[in-house]
Symmetry: C2
């Protein structure tokens, strides 16, 4: 039987480290601004997670309820408000295209979720620092980052230090710009071969040979290649050491125990169920949700962006 | 019976002006790079339009057939190639989110289609120039711009010089980031009240009172407001002086003569039919497609971007 991992438990260690670092920053404490248009559902739940997590680590959180058509102006104000260190927008607000436009309205230096296309571009170009001196680290999108940390906790990292997922095969159902595609990219950077399913087709992310570059951290090894693939679900699931699902649809056929490799690590980040409950009978670990870890990674990103900005503050 | 307007005919006058201006630029002629991943369908048709239009006005056109996964690298190369003045990418390549990412990889100064979020942001902020000296004009997205020029040719512009659509009501079926939303915004800037339908709901774009600002052109009058609306299709069609459709779905119920106001101007920019053919019995003008005008506006944008860059060229 699989271990069922609770992301809230795993997040505790990370939060402790964040809490300790925040204590060293002095007054006034960091301030996050959250913008929420929905009055129920996953957005509201995630906003509640955020409030709890902020209280837990000592960050102030100002959650503003607004109409979705007010979000763009509210973001513009928060971008230039020197009291605000980080911005969270609770999506979806509109459709995927309009939301992509809104995501890019957040100043990247306050984008603690790492959703701005500036950060996506850094990731896809394998650019780990944003300054020539290599002191300011790029931000990774918080849900894919949370997923990698959870996979690590589930024992998926068996490779070398530079390529912790070397030799592993992963199958990911979802290639959205906010989770699935950056996730596949990060996993391939870490050495995994990733089969990526989406409505738009199947793609294969394959690590390229090479060593980490000088001064780079582990994810700055050589890039990966992407190609179109014709592999089917049955084959991809049978071969996968890691199966990740993020399909927000009731018509997705639940992944069943007989489809997966014995001992596979299974993780779902969709708000809908994507695995059949008896998946635990064949998996080695099952992670049914990611939420509390995502918000923890957003807090980690907050600290990173705060450190990046230190050189630019008049008093430092 | 309605006049049926052929966009290719209307484009001729614009092309003549473009051809004359291009003659004054000397050698080597302007060069556009096109990237096409599809081997059939609307993308290929639009690429063929582009080739003809370029030949017509004296612009070189280098069309490259590639795999969609090669597009990002090809764009990056074209961005830094000093021989290339403008870039056209034939969408769709992936899904809407990934395509939005690709659109933003094109250098705005070579984005003759005006699809980069930089240009969208200029439009939504009603920013008509990109420099403090007000010499470099912002680029408008070429399909909405083409639609406005076609509406003008169809006699829709009856307002004042600053607000040519003042007092008009328009209904638009489509609120995509590349056509419907910028179009509604431009029409509201021009004085129209626009009901915008999309899967995501109904929105009302309303012009605000105010005069054009000093030194601004006609579209730089006061901004517009957007609100959610509960108006239904029947009401919106009954009241509209201008009906614009862009629904790429066979399940969209075709707009019929009995639904529209007598004398309304009807325009379809979808590659699928959205009006029933007998719409001409009640409309004053019917414009069944936009394509040739779109590529003409992209050529117009090419000249604008060329003029914008003149101050930055070593030889000028």
């Amino acid at each position: 039987m699989a271990i069922v991992l609770d992301p809230a438990e795993i997040a505790k260690t990370y939060r402790e480290a964040i809490r300790e670092e925040i204590k060293t920053l002095g007054d006034p404490p960091l301030l996050l601004a959250g913008f929420l248009a929905a009055d129920h559902g996953p957005s509201k739940t995630y906003a509640e997670y955020t409030a709890k997590a902020c209280a837990d680590v000592g960050v102030r959180f100002d959650l503003r309820h607004l109409k979705r058509l007010e979000a763009e102006d509210a973001i513009a104000e928060a971008n230039v408000d020197p009291r605000i260190h980080g911005i969270l927008v609770y999506y979806p607000l509109f459709g995927p295209e309009h939301d992509a436009y809104i995501r890019d309205r957040v100043d990247p230096s306050k984008d603690i979720e790492g959703l701005h296309s500036f950060w996506a571009h850094c990731l896809y170009q394998n650019r780990r620092f944003i300054d020539a001196e290599r002191t300011k680290k790029a931000i990774l999108p918080c849900t894919p980052l949370a997923i990698l940390k959870l996979l690590e906790a589930a024992g998926a990292f068996g490779g070398t230090a530079g390529k912790p997922l070397a030799g592993k095969r992963a199958t990911v159902f979802n290639r959205s710009e906010v989770v699935g595609r950056p996730l596949a990219s990060m996993m391939a950077n870490d050495g995994a071969e990733v089969v990526s399913f989406d409505l738009d087709g199947v793609q294969l992310f394959q690590p390229r040979e090479g060593e980490p570059g000088p001064g780079n951290d582990r994810r700055s090894a050589s890039a990966y290649g992407v190609s179109e693939s014709t592999v089917d679900r049955a084959t991809a699931l049978r071969d996968a050491d890691v199966v990740i699902t993020g399909v927000p649809s009731r018509s997705f056929p639940l992944v069943t125990p007989d489809e997966i490799k014995p001992g596979a690590i299974c993780l779902n980040f969709s708000t809908m169920k994507n695995f059949r409950e008896d998946i635990v009978e064949r998996a080695s670990a099952y992670i049914p949700r990611v939420g509390p870890m995502t918000v923890t990674m957003a807090l980690r990103n907050t600290l990173r962006l705060y450190r990046n900005a230190e050189g630019e503050r008049p008093c430092s």
